[in-house]
C-alpha cells in the first residue's frame, strides 16, 4: 500500500465572506508546501457545495454546516512524516500564513488507516492510484462503530463482497476506499515518544467510538451518482442485497462533495446573494 495512514477532516467556514480567501490560502499556499514533504503521498480537498449539502443524508447536527473535506495520505516512516507535517503547520503559523484559524472550525478530524481500495472495472488504474486520479466529486460516509465482534465482521464482509461492488456499478463510480480509525491499530509513532494530538473537541481522543469511513471516487456528477444509487437500491432491496448495519454502526455523516477547480470558488456566492 502506498500510504499507511491518512488524515481526514471536515471543515466549516464560520464567516461566509471567507470562502474565497480560505480556498486561496489552502490551494495556492498551504497545500503546495505540504506536497513538498517527502512523506506526504497526496493531499486533496473537496467542497460540499449547497446542492451537495441538500443531497446529504443521516447528518448529525454538529456536521450539518460542513463546507469542505480534506485528506492527506502519509508514507512511512510515519514518525518522521508526521513530525514534518505538524512542523509545517507550526511554521505556517509563525510565518503568519495560517489565516484560516480565524474563520474555520473542524467538527471532525483524525487519523485513519486505509483498509481496502476498490476500482470499477472500466477504470484502468490500480486502487493505490485512485486517490491521485482526478475526480468530479466524492461521496463520504462516516459512521461510529458500536461493536467489534462477529456481527461487525458480517457487516464488513457485506460491504466488501456485496455493497461496494454494487456501488461500483453506479453512474460515475470510479472506485472506493474504506478506512478505519487509527485507534483500532497500533499508534503511528513510537510508544516511547510523545504523540501528536489535537486539542479541540473534535479530536480523535474525544471520539467515544472508533470510526469507519468510506469514500467513493466519482468521475461523473456526484448528484447523478446518488440518483443512480437510489434507483438501483430499489432492486437491490428487493433482491436481498441490502443489509441493515444499524446494530453495528451509526452513520452520522453521509454527503457528496465536488472537486475544487482552482480560482472557481463561487459555490457560496450565489447562496449569499440569494439570502
Amino acid at each position: 500500500m502506498f500510504a499507511s495512514k491518512v488524515y481526514f477532516s471536515l471543515t466549516e467556514i464560520l464567516d461566509a465572506a471567507h470562502h474565497r480567501t480560505h480556498n486561496e490560502w489552502h490551494q495556492l499556499d498551504h497545500r503546495p508546501e505540504n506536497l513538498l514533504l517527502p512523506g506526504v503521498a497526496w493531499g486533496d480537498r473537496w467542497v460540499r457545495s449547497p446542492d451537495c449539502a441538500q443531497a446529504s443524508a443521516g447528518l448529525a447536527p454538529e456536521y450539518a454546516r460542513t463546507h469542505y473535506a480534506i485528506m492527506y495520505w502519509f508514507r512511512e516512516p510515519l514518525r518522521a512524516t508526521l513530525d514534518e507535517f505538524f512542523k509545517l503547520s507550526e511554521f505556517s503559523f509563525q510565518w503568519g500564513r495560517s489565516p484560516q484559524i480565524g474563520w474555520t472550525k473542524r467538527p471532525l478530524r483524525g487519523f485513519f488507516s486505509p483498509v481496502k481500495g476498490y476500482v470499477a472495472t472500466r477504470v484502468r488504474v490500480s486502487a493505490d492510484a485512485l486517490p491521485r486520479r482526478p475526480v468530479k466529486g466524492i461521496h463520504v460516509t462516516v459512521s461510529r462503530l458500536r461493536r467489534h465482534d462477529a456481527l461487525t465482521q458480517e457487516a464488513f464482509r457485506w460491504y466488501d463482497e456485496v455493497r461496494l461492488p454494487d456501488l461500483l456499478h453506479c453512474r460515475g463510480a470510479a472506485g472506493a476506499w474504506t478506512f478505519a480509525s487509527d485507534d483500532l491499530f497500533a499508534p503511528p509513532w513510537d510508544d516511547s515518544m510523545p504523540a501528536w494530538s489535537f486539542a479541540d473537541s473534535g479530536s480523535r481522543s474525544a471520539e467515544a467510538f472508533p470510526l469507519r469511513m468510506t469514500i467513493m471516487y466519482l468521475d461523473e456528477d456526484p448528484l447523478e451518482y446518488l440518483a443512480d444509487v437510489a434507483e438501483r437500491d430499489v432492486a437491490w432491496k428487493a433482491g436481498g442485497r441490502v443489509h441493515d448495519t444499524s446494530p453495528v454502526e451509526e452513520v452520522f455523516f453521509s454527503s457528496p462533495f465536488r472537486m475544487i477547480v482552482p480560482w472557481e470558488w463561487n459555490w457560496f456566492d450565489t447562496a449569499k446573494a440569494a439570502s
Binding site: 508546501e33 513538498l36 490500480s126 486520479r133
Partner: protein, 258 residues
C-alpha cells in the same frame, strides 16, 4: 531542492480527433499510476491551445519541434534512480496495453534538465520549490539553444538572473519562475563544445495571453531604451510562448478549431 532533475517532453497529436482520448489517457490513467512512485515530485502538463500558438515565437529552423502539449516531470533524489523508474514506467504501461498514445502522439522533444534557480513573486508567499505544485492558469515557456560555454553565455545567464527574470515577475499574473539547463552539462564526460538547451518557465496565475503580451511590450521597451541584452552570438531561440493549464475533462481547445 525538491527535484534535482526534470524531464521535459513536447508532444504533437497527429490525429486531431484524439485530443480528448490523449488527455483522458494521460490525466486519468498514466499520471495517477506514475505519481505513486515516491521518486516523482510532480508531473505537470500544459496545452498549447490555438490562441496560445497564435502568439508564440517559434524559430523557423525548428519546424520539427511543433507541439500541442508540454510535460515537465520532476524527480526527487536519488534523482537518477527516480528517472530510471520513470522511463521503466513508460515501458511497463506499454506492456500492459495502456499506451494508446503511441498510435497518434509524437514526441518532438524529450530531454532531461537540471533546475538552476527558482524565483517567486513576493506576493505569492510560497517557496520556490512549491511553485510547480501550486495551481496555475498556465506557464510561459522559453526554450533556446546555447552554442557556447563561454564568457558571452555566462553574461547572458547573469542578465537573465538579474534583469530579465525580475522584470518578468513584475508582469501581471507572474507567480514565479524556474530556470533549467541540459543535464549533459553535469556529467563527468561533458563536452563543453556541444550546444546545450536552456529552459525557462514562468508560472502564471493570471491570463497567459495577457502575460505574453506584456512580456513582449517590456522587451520592446528595453530594446528601445538600449537595456536589452543581445545574446544572439551564443543563444538560438527555439520557442517562446504561453501554454495553458489543463483542467480535467475540459479538453475542448481544439474542437472549435476543427
Amino acid at each position: 531542492m525538491l527535484a534535482p532533475l526534470v524531464h521535459l517532453s513536447l508532444t504533437k497529436i497527429g490525429d486531431p480527433t484524439k485530443h480528448r482520448a490523449y488527455n483522458a489517457w494521460r490525466q486519468l490513467d498514466y499520471v495517477p499510476e506514475l505519481m505513486l512512485d515516491p521518486g516523482m515530485a510532480w508531473a505537470d502538463a500544459w496545452v498549447q491551445s490555438p490562441d496560445c500558438a497564435a502568439v508564440a515565437s517559434v524559430a523557423t529552423h525548428t519546424a520539427s519541434l511543433a507541439f500541442d502539449y508540454a510535460q515537465l516531470h520532476g524527480f526527487r533524489a536519488p534523482e537518477e534512480q527516480s528517472a530510471r523508474r520513470f522511463v521503466d514506467q513508460r515501458e511497463r504501461a506499454f506492456q500492459m496495453g495502456r499506451r494508446p498514445d503511441v498510435e497518434w502522439a509524437r514526441e518532438s522533444l524529450a530531454a532531461f534538465f537540471v533546475p538552476l534557480k527558482g524565483y517567486v513573486n513576493p506576493r505569492v508567499l510560497i517557496s520556490a520549490n512549491a511553485l510547480p505544485v501550486r495551481p496555475m492558469t498556465g506557464v510561459h515557456l522559453t526554450l533556446s539553444r546555447f552554442l557556447a560555454h563561454d564568457a558571452a553565455a555566462e553574461a547572458a545567464y547573469r542578465w537573465q538572473d538579474r534583469v530579465c527574470i525580475p522584470e518578468l515577475l513584475e508582469c501581471t499574473g507572474a507567480a514565479g519562475a524556474w530556470t533549467f539547463t541540459s543535464h549533459e552539462l553535469f556529467r563527468p564526460a561533458r563536452d563543453l563544445s556541444a550546444a546545450t538547451l536552456r529552459l525557462r518557465i514562468v508560472y502564471l496565475d493570471g491570463d497567459p495571453l495577457a502575460f505574453s503580451t506584456e512580456c513582449k511590450e517590456r522587451e520592446s521597451r528595453r530594446r528601445a531604451e538600449g537595456r536589452h541584452f543581445d545574446a544572439s552570438a551564443v543563444e538560438q531561440p527555439i520557442f517562446a510562448g504561453p501554454l495553458r493549464a489543463i483542467v480535467p475533462w475540459r479538453w475542448t481547445w481544439f474542437e472549435s478549431a476543427r
